[in-house]
Amino acid sequence: MRRCVQIVLFSACLALASARVALAVDPTELPDPALQARYLALTHELRCMQCQNETLADSPVGLAADLRREVRDQLLAGKSDDQIRAWMTARYGDFILFRPRYSLRNAWLWGAPFALLLIGALVCWRVVRNRTTLLPGDHEPLEEDGPAR
C-alpha cells in the first residue's frame, strides 16, 4: 500500500514537472493535431542559435520564440517540413539543424561510425586469428589447464 502511494506521488511529480516545462517555454497549440505533431518535431530538431545547445522547443530566449513563430506560421501556410528546414538553413546555415543532412559534404560524418565499426571488426578478427595460430605451437596446453575430462 505504501509502495503504491509512493509510485503515485512520484508519477504525479514527474507529470507536473514536465507539464511545467512545456507550459513555461512553449504554449503554442496548433488547431490540427497533425500540424501540432509536425510543429513539435520541427521545433525539437532545430537549434536555438542564441543558446546553441538547446532546441527551439526548449529555449526561453526571444530569438527562439521568433523562430518558433516562423515554424508555426509556415506550417499554417501549408509549407512542407523540408521547405521549412531549407528556409531555416538559407538564413542560419546547416548549424541550425541538430540532425545533419545527408549530403556529400556530410558523408564522412554519417560514414564514420561504420568505418570505426569496420576497423574494430578487423582488429578483432586479427586478434582472434593470432590466438588460434599461436597457441598450439607455442604452448602445449597443460593437463590441469583444460576442463576436467
Binding site: 542564441q50 521568433d66 538564413r91 542560419y92
Partner: protein
C-alpha cells in the same frame, strides 16, 4: 615493430580528423553566415527618425553600405557605439541601422545621448527582418556591396581593428564604387 604500426596509423588518422575539425569549427562560437556571397535580403521597414518614410533596400542599390543590427537592450551595442561613430566620421561608407526588437522612444533617446552613427535607422519590432539576415545575437554588422551582395559579416562589437583589418580593405578593392557614397 609492425605491432605498433596499426595503433600509430589509427592515432595519426584520428589526429588529422580532429585537427580538421578544430580548424573548421566556428571561431569562438561564431557561425559562418550562409548569406556571404549572396544577395542581401530585400526590405521596406519603418524609419525610426521619420515615421512618414520607409527605409528600403531598393534605395541602397548601387552603393556600399554597412548594415548594423543593434538594440538599446544590447550590451555589445553600447560597447561598439564609439567605433560606429568613428566610421561615420571617416565618411567612407554609410551605416544603415536595424533597431532590433526595441522600443522606439528608448532607441531615439539612445541616439540623442550617444550620438547617431547611422545614415538611417530601420525598426524591426517583430524580429522578422533580423531572421531574414540570419542574425542570432546583436550586435552584428554586414558589409553589402553596390550589387547588393553581402561580402562580409562581423558578429559581436565592431572595433577599430575589425574596421581596418576586415572592412576597409574590402572597400578599397573597388575604389570607384566606394567613392560614390
Amino acid at each position: 615493430m609492425t605491432k605498433f604500426l596499426l595503433p600509430l596509423g589509427i592515432f595519426i588518422l584520428l589526429a588529422v580528423v580532429l585537427a580538421i575539425g578544430i580548424h573548421h569549427s566556428p571561431d569562438k562560437g561564431i557561425i559562418v553566415s550562409p548569406l556571404l556571397g549572396k544577395a542581401a535580403p530585400a526590405f521596406a521597414l519603418p524609419n525610426l527618425t521619420d515615421p512618414a518614410r520607409e527605409v528600403r533596400s531598393a534605395d541602397l542599390k548601387g552603393r556600399w553600405y554597412l548594415f548594423n543590427v543593434w538594440g538599446t537592450w544590447c550590451g555589445g551595442c553600447r560597447e561598439e557605439h564609439e567605433a560606429l561613430l568613428q566610421v561615420r566620421r571617416a565618411g567612407v561608407v554609410p551605416i544603415i541601422g536595424l533597431d532590433w526588437k526595441d522600443d522606439d522612444a528608448q532607441a531615439l533617446s539612445w541616439l540623442t545621448q550617444l550620438g547617431n552613427p547611422y545614415e538611417v535607422v530601420a525598426t524591426d519590432h517583430s524580429g522578422r527582418q533580423a531572421i531574414e539576415w540570419g542574425v542570432y545575437g546583436a550586435p552584428e554588422t554586414f558589409l553589402v556591396n553596390p550589387q547588393g551582395i553581402v561580402v562580409y559579416k562581423h558578429v559581436g562589437a565592431l572595433t577599430p581593428e575589425v574596421w581596418t583589418r576586415e572592412i576597409l580593405p574590402r572597400l578599397s578593392k573597388v575604389p570607384a564604387a566606394a567613392g560614390s557614397s
